[in-house]
Amino acid sequence: MTAVVPGEGTAASPALPGRRSRRSRRGSPAGAPPPARRRSGRLLPYLLVVPTLVALGAGLGYPLVRLVVISTQEFGRRQQFGAPARYVGTDNYDSIFGTSYFWDVLWRSLAFCGVNVVLTLVLGTLLALLLTRLGPGMRTALSVALLLAWATPALTATIVWQWIFDARYGVVNWVLTRLGADYQGHSWLSEPLSFFFVGTLVVVWMGVPFVAFTLYAGMTQISPEVMEAAAIDGAGPWQRFRDVTWPALLPIFVVLAALSTLWDLRVFTQVYVLQQAGGIVRETNTLGVYAYRQGGSGDFGLGAAVAVVMVGITLLLTLVYLRRMFRQEEL
C-alpha cells in the first residue's frame, strides 16, 4: 500500500529517533552493556518478532513468493482464469531488457526520481531552516499549511493539481494569460517535459512536509550553545550551517534520502492519474506505472518481472544506505 501513495512520506520521523539511538549508543562508552549479554530469555526476542512475521507473512508472504514465481512463467489472463502456467525461465526478463523501451522507462524514472528527491530534500531543508527562524505563531501557522499538504490523499491531491493545470479552465493558464502570456488552452500534460514538471510539483509538494518536519526536529536538537559559540568565533550563517548543522543532520539526511528514493522511484498514483488526464502514455510511463500497465494489459508474468527488476534497482540505489546500516548493526 505504501506504493499507492508513494512519495507521500508520512511518519513524523523515522530518521530522527534512529539518529538519537545511534548517538546514545555512541554516547555511552562504558555504560549500558551490549544487548547480547542479556540472558533473560533467549526466546524473548523471537517471540517479540513473531507477530510481525506472521502479519507480514499472512498479508504478503504468498503474494511475494508468487510474484517471483510468476515472473518466470508465461502468465496471462488465461492462466489467471485457471489454465496451467508454463515456465519460461528468464524469457520475461529477457524481453524486458531486450526492448529499448524498458531502458527509456528506466532512465526516465531515474531522472524523475532524482529530480524529485533532490528538490524534496533541498526545499525540505530550507523550510526546516525557515521554521527555526520564525516566531511561535507564524511557526504554527506554517506547520498547519504543511500538514494540509501532507494529509491530503495522493489521489485527491493529484486530481486537484491536474485541475489547477487544466488546459481550458485551470487557474494557472488563467493567471498566466492575465499576465500577458499566451497560455489560453495551453496543455501542460501533452509535452513529456511539462508533464513531469507538473508531476514533480505534485510529488515534491506532498513530500516536502515530511522532510521539513523531520529536519526541523533534528535542528532543534543542536544545542544553542554550540551555535552561539560558533557565532562568537566569527562564523557566518552559511559557515554555521556547513560546520555545525550539516554534520549533525547528516545521518537524518541519509535516511531521508533513502526513503525518498524508495518512494519516488515507484511513484504510481501521481503519474497514473496525470496520464489519465492527458499526456502521452508511451512517453510518460515510469517504472511503477509501466509494471502496472503490463499487468493491466493481461501480461502478469511480464508485470511481475518488471516488479522484481524494480526491487533490484532500488536495492542498488539504496546500497550506500544499506552498507551504512550493515556496518552499524554488526558492531
Binding site: F81, G278, V281, R282, R293, D299
Partner: protein, 465 residues
C-alpha cells in the same frame, strides 16, 4: 486462432443500405416512413455483416463440452449478483428487469451492482476467478473476446436460440463469440453520430454537409465565423477521440490491422490510413479548439458553454446535452444530428460500440443467471434501450429506433459500422493507450506517417501476442 474479421463483410452491407436510402429519398417520404425504411435497411445491413459468422454457428450445433444449462425450478431460493457498468442502464430499466424476473423466480434476489468503466479490467481480472464472483458481468464489446478466450465465461452456445438467436445483431454476436463458441450475450449497441448547432450553421450560411470534405470545410467555416468566441471548435475533436479517428481511416480505405492467415498485419501506416489521419490532423489543427490530450467524455459541457459547432459522439450525446447533466432548455431547439458523411457522399464508416454480458465461469447459479440474461435480451427490455439513444440488440426491434433526430442519425450511421480487429488481445491495445497517444501527437502537429508507423508496430506486436 484468430476469428474472422467483421470489417470485410461490412462494405457490402453498406452498399445495400445506401441503395435503400436512395429509394426512400426518391419516394418522397414522411418522417415516419423514412424511419421505417432506415430501420429496415439497418436490419439488412447488420444481417449481411453477419455472413462471416455463419460458419461458427454451423460448427456449434450440439454442445460438445459441458452440459446444457437448465432452468432451475421456480421456487429456487438464491441470490444473483449482476455487474452492470456505468450509467448506461438507467435504474428504471433495472427495476423493470427485476420485476419481470420476479414473476418467474419470486424467491431469487437479484443484486445489481454498478461498476465503473475505469478500473473495470482490474476488478474483472482479480475478482472473477474467486469464490465470490458475480454471476453476470458486463464488458465492452472490444474487451469481450479477451475474457471469452481466457475461460472467464460460461459457454452459452446451446442457449443462443433462447437468447435471441438469429435475431441478435450480428456484429455484437461476433464480439461475443470466440473460437466458434458463443459466450458473450449482446447487451446493447451504439453507433457514432455528429451532433451540431442548427443556428450556427444557419448563421454561417452552411447546409448539412453531404461529403466528408464538406464536413471538414464546414468545420473550418464555423470556426472562422465564430472567431469571437474563445475556445470555439467548428468540429470538436480532442486528440484522444480515437473512435472518431477510425471513421476517417476507414473512409479513406485504410484500417488498423488485417488478419492474414492468422497473422495480424498492420494497416495503420498504409497510404490510405495516413490520408485519413491527415484529414484528422487538418480538423484538429484548423477547425478545433479541444485540447490535444483530452478525450470526448466532457465535450457536452463545452457544447453547453456555446463553444462547439459540431461534435462526433455516441448516439446518446444529444440526450446528454439536453439532459440534467448538460444544459436543459439552452440548445434544445437548435440541436441537430446527422450521420457522418463519407467522402463518396454516402455514410462514412463508423465504430460500433456496445457491450456484452457473460456468466462468470465461477458462478454458482449459471442456470439461474441464464434465465436472467433471457430477461435482459427480451423484446420488452431491449425496447427500452431504443428509447434512451442506444441500439437494441434484436434486429426485429431496430425499427423501434425512433423519436428524435439523434436516433435517426444513429440508425443511419449504423448502416455502415465497422469494428476494431477482432482479437482477444485488442483489449490490451486499448489499455496501452496506443491510439490515444497517436491522436495526441497528431493533434499537436507531429508527422502523421511517423506516428501511424509507431502506433502500428505497437499494435501489431500486441495483437500477435
Amino acid at each position: 486462432m484468430k476469428t474472422n474479421t467483421l470489417p470485410e463483410a461490412a462494405p457490402s452491407g453498406a452498399e445495400v443500405a445506401r441503395a435503400a436510402r436512395g429509394d426512400a429519398a426518391t419516394t418522397g417520404m414522411t418522417a415516419r416512413r423514412a424511419r421505417r425504411v432506415v430501420a429496415v435497411a439497418l436490419v439488412g445491413v447488420l444481417a449481411l455483416a453477419a455472413c462471416g459468422s455463419d460458419d461458427d454457428e454451423a460448427s456449434t450445433g450440439e454442445g460438445d463440452d459441458g452440459t446444457a444449462l437448465e432452468a432451475p425450478p421456480e421456487d429456487t431460493e438464491a441470490t444473483l449478483r449482476v455487474w452492470l457498468n456505468g450509467p448506461d442502464t438507467p435504474d428504471e430499466m433495472i427495476d423493470l428487469a427485476k420485476a419481470e424476473f420476479a414473476e418467474s423466480y419470486p424467491n431469487v434476489t437479484v443484486e445489481v451492482e454498478r461498476q465503473e468503466w475505469d478500473g473495470l479490467v482490474n476488478r474483472l481480472d482479480t475478482v472473477l476467478p474467486t469464490e465470490d464472483s458475480p454471476d453476470i458481468f458486463e464488458v465492452g464489446n472490444t474487451q469481450a473476446q479477451s475474457y471469452e478466450a481466457a475461460g472467464a465465461m460460461v459457454d452459452l452456445t446451446d442457449a443462443k436460440g433462447d437468447l435471441g438467436g438469429d435475431d441478435l445483431v450480428d456484429s455484437l454476436v461476433e464480439a461475443g463469440t470466440y473460437d466458434g463458441r458463443f459466450y458473450g450475450v449482446p447487451y446493447y449497441g451504439g453507433a457514432r453520430i455528429v451532433v451540431y448547432r442548427k443556428d450556427l450553421l444557419d448563421k454561417a450560411g452552411l447546409e448539412i454537409p453531404t461529403t466528408l470534405d464538406e464536413f471538414v470545410d464546414a468545420g473550418k467555416a464555423l470556426k472562422a465565423d465564430n472567431a469571437d468566441v474563445p475556445n470555439f471548435s467548428g468540429i470538436y475533436f480532442p486528440g484522444r477521440n480515437w473512435h472518431a479517428m477510425l471513421s476517417f481511416i476507414w473512409d479513406a480505405g485504410g484500417d488498423i490491422a488485417v488478419d492474414e492467415d492468422g497473422e495480424w498485419v498492420g494497416e495503420l501506416s498504409s497510404d490510405a490510413s495516413v490520408t485519413g489521419l491527415t484529414t484528422v490532423q487538418d480538423i484538429m489543427q484548423n477547425a478545433n479548439a479541444a485540447p490535444a490530450d483530452s478525450d470526448d467524455a466532457e465535450d457536452y459541457l463545452d457544447f453547453c458553454n456555446g463553444e462547439v459547432g459540431m461534435l462526433m459522439g455516441p448516439g446518446w450525446k444529444m440526450g446528454q446535452i439536453t439532459g440534467e447533466d448538460g444544459c436543459p432548455g439552452k440548445y434544445d431547439d437548435v440541436l441537430g444530428a446527422f450521420a457522418l458523411p463519407g467522402s463518396d457522399g454516402g455514410v462514412a464508416p463508423s465504430f460500433l460500440g456496445g457491450s456484452n454480458l457473460g456468466i462468470s465461469a465461477r458462478s454458482e447459479n449459471p442456470g439461474l443467471a441464464l434465465e436472467f440474461l433471457k430477461v435482459l435480451t427480451s423484446e420488452t427490455y431491449q425496447t427500452e434501450f431504443a428509447e434512451i439513444g442506444l441500439i437494441p440488440v434484436r434486429k426485429s426491434l431496430l425499427d423501434q429506433v425512433q423519436g428524435d433526430e439523434a436516433a435517426q442519425a444513429q440508425a443511419e450511421a449504423a448502416e455502415n459500422t465497422r469494428f476494431v480487429p477482432s482479437s482477444e488481445n485488442w483489449a490490451d491495445v486499448e489499455s496501452g493507450n496506443i491510439l490515444q497517444d497517436m491522436g495526441t501527437a497528431i493533434a499537436s502537429g507531429a508527422d502523421v506517417a511517423d506516428e501511424a508507423g509507431r502506433a502500428e508496430s505497437a499494435i501489431v506486436d500486441i495483437l500477435n501476442g
